[in-house]
Symmetry: C2
Subunit: 378 residues, 2 copies
């Protein structure tokens, strides 16, 4: 074993991607001390994504004063990766922890996220990656759009910054105020869910309750997003109502498409592109990936599957190490996973098992690498 | 992969050794259809051992009428393996199910076990393997000894067949009545525990309660075995008091040594000898073994360890597949286990996990074999 790549997702609720990377590396070096281990932290666009990208690719962290979800000045941040690519996690300006004690998706805005994007653009970044996730907002991205010059007008022709409760008041949208520099900037939105903008599976019904919305508020928010979609359709000639992921981050998925001319992309695809994964795996003997739970039901957006698809093209084997192997996983092998191992050394409930996640992962990795050390077969 | 040997212990309470063998074979053949898979069922000396040996080695089953634990005639059985080796499981003549509803280790005898041994001897078997385990008795093997001609005398010089309650009455032992044909017969006793004949860790204190003894009976039984040891010491000039395993099957371990000139041997060693394991593994690419739980605490007598020790000498890799990986297993690798995998795809308690033992083992084996299918490494 001369070169092994470790690119695991986090084990939700127990281990970060960085922790998994380190445990994998240690096990590999224990048995193949000279092996070149390439660790790639995986971010999902939510909190911690900027740090993960900076760790995986290198770059610097920028701090900026922007508006928080209640239009109060806060110090926020984003990353500029080597290669002049900006990475923004929306949670840094519109995250739920920022409204701790007063969550209310009727009143909160993504304005600060737009300010981060604008700052990156002004610094000359030609590619801006925006990670959705962990938001406190349900404004369809209208706040962020306002920050870069999009004008939302009410029926009296007055410009305003729509929030969750006032989406319903939008009568017209004017994109002409967007700085022309954005014409040369590619904006990519990382989004790992496929919920649509509105409706029973939409942003409000599925995610607003965890942002503090009661049932009545959910209905208002859903109607607001529905109205926004129709205004976008009417004035921008764009149907964002059915985009998978349009409902991410309180409808910001659709807003990124409509106002930022962005494409929505799975987090793992974004990372694989950024690290030039196809190039990276040339000469690799093996790839380790992993996640909390692998199954065939939710292949969409999964880190191991994203990794496996590219590895398969390059004919590199992929071993997935997971907390739980779900049922009906046959499809996973077809997509390029060579073998899957779960980390449970004993049959105990998750509440007990999670206390030993590190040890359990280390033990499993150790045994897999021991097996790989077997002399080449006759 | 041209030749793989499967030699797993049972997964206690969930899967028999035969079931594990079959699941292993199926997984191997799924990915290496032309591989020669050698399956060796492992017996521990208890119920099912005769069938397991017959399956592993070949031979025929003999039925014989003997005395049950209450001196009632029953149809019992043993096996004669190819090569004229008899295999007896004592449970077939003195097992706990034979006294169902009336267990009482003060009153039960191993006489029938002696009759099975005698029958095998009369048929010309030159090696007789006696599996201890699952007994209802605590007679120190005196019943079995009586059946082959050993005479136990009380203080009045009267011959009697000692039972648990009357061990204390033995004043003398006379071996002269044993048929001389036994001089040419090797008797091997399979025994996987190391409890001594008597004392706090002895047969009565540790095992008699599960044979129906109350605390008072336990004390009587323990005193009986202690007395038997002293009589053996006095008249046969043999110290059986500290033999590891002497306390197996109600002290029958010690009785086999004293009256049958037998040696006690771990079940796995017996099986490995019988199947000529050292010869069998020549040319093997790999060995699969397994058990319910592997750990360093109880290495003694463990199937995977017995297998690994011999495999290590022959430089063949051993993969252990287990229900539970215990703590502190480093020693296991030193003894010859290459890698260990547990079969738990998810963190759930044993009560739930055990319902899916077959599927879980099959899944784990499938992934191990998938990993083995990886192209030979550079």
């Amino acid at each position: 074993m001369k070169k092994i790549i470790c690119i695991p997702d986090s084990f939700k609720g127990t281990l970060s991607s960085a922790q998994v990377c380190n445990i994998m590396e240690e096990a590999i070096h224990c048995h193949f001390p000279l092996c070149d281990v390439v660790k790639i932290e995986v971010a999902d666009g939510g909190e911690g994504s900027v740090d993960a990208f900076l760790a995986a690719v290198g770059g610097k962290k920028i701090t900026v004063t922007v508006n928080n979800p209640y239009f109060e000045a806060i110090e926020s941040f984003y990353g500029i990766l080597d290669g002049n690519v900006a990475v923004i996690e929306m949670a840094a300006a519109a995250g739920l922890p920022l409204v701790s004690g007063r969550p209310n998706p009727l009143e909160t805005t993504t304005f600060g996220v737009g300010e981060l994007i604008l700052d990156a653009a002004k610094r000359g970044c030609k590619q801006i990656i925006v990670g959705l996730g962990g938001s406190s907002t349900n404004d369809g991205g209208c706040g962020a759009a306002s920050a870069i010059g999009v004008r939302f007008l009410n029926s009296q022709g007055q410009v305003f910054v729509p929030k969750g409760k006032s989406l319903i008041d939008i009568a017209d949208i004017d994109l002409s105020g967007i700085d022309p520099m954005f014409n040369d900037i590619e904006i990519i939105t990382m989004c790992d869910i496929d919920n649509p903008m509105y409706g029973p599976k939409g942003a409000a019904h599925i995610f607003a309750p965890q942002k503090g919305a009661n049932p009545d508020m959910v209905i208002l928010l859903d109607e607001g997003l529905c109205h926004l979609a129709s205004v976008i359709q009417k004035h921008l000639k764009l149907d964002v109502s059915t985009i998978p992921g349009g409902g991410a981050a309180g409808g910001m998925g659709s807003g990124m498409v409509a106002f930022f001319n962005s494409r929505l992309q799975m987090g793992i695809e974004t990372i694989l592109d950024l690290v030039e994964f196809d190039h990276l795996i040339e000469g690799a003997d093996l790839i380790f990936t992993g996640e909390g739970k692998i199954d065939s039901q939710s292949i969409q957006g999964k880190v191991p599957i994203g990794v496996a698809k590219r590895a398969k093209r390059a004919k590199v084997d992929v071993i997935a190490v997971v907390g739980t192997i779900g049922s009906d996983i046959e499809a996973v092998y077809d997509l390029g996973i060579t073998a899957i191992f779960s980390i449970n050394p004993e049959p105990v409930p998750f509440e007990i098992a999670k206390l030993k996640s590190k040890e359990n992962l280390a033990l499993t990795m150790d045994n897999i690498v021991r097996l790989l050390s077997i002399k080449p077969q006759k």
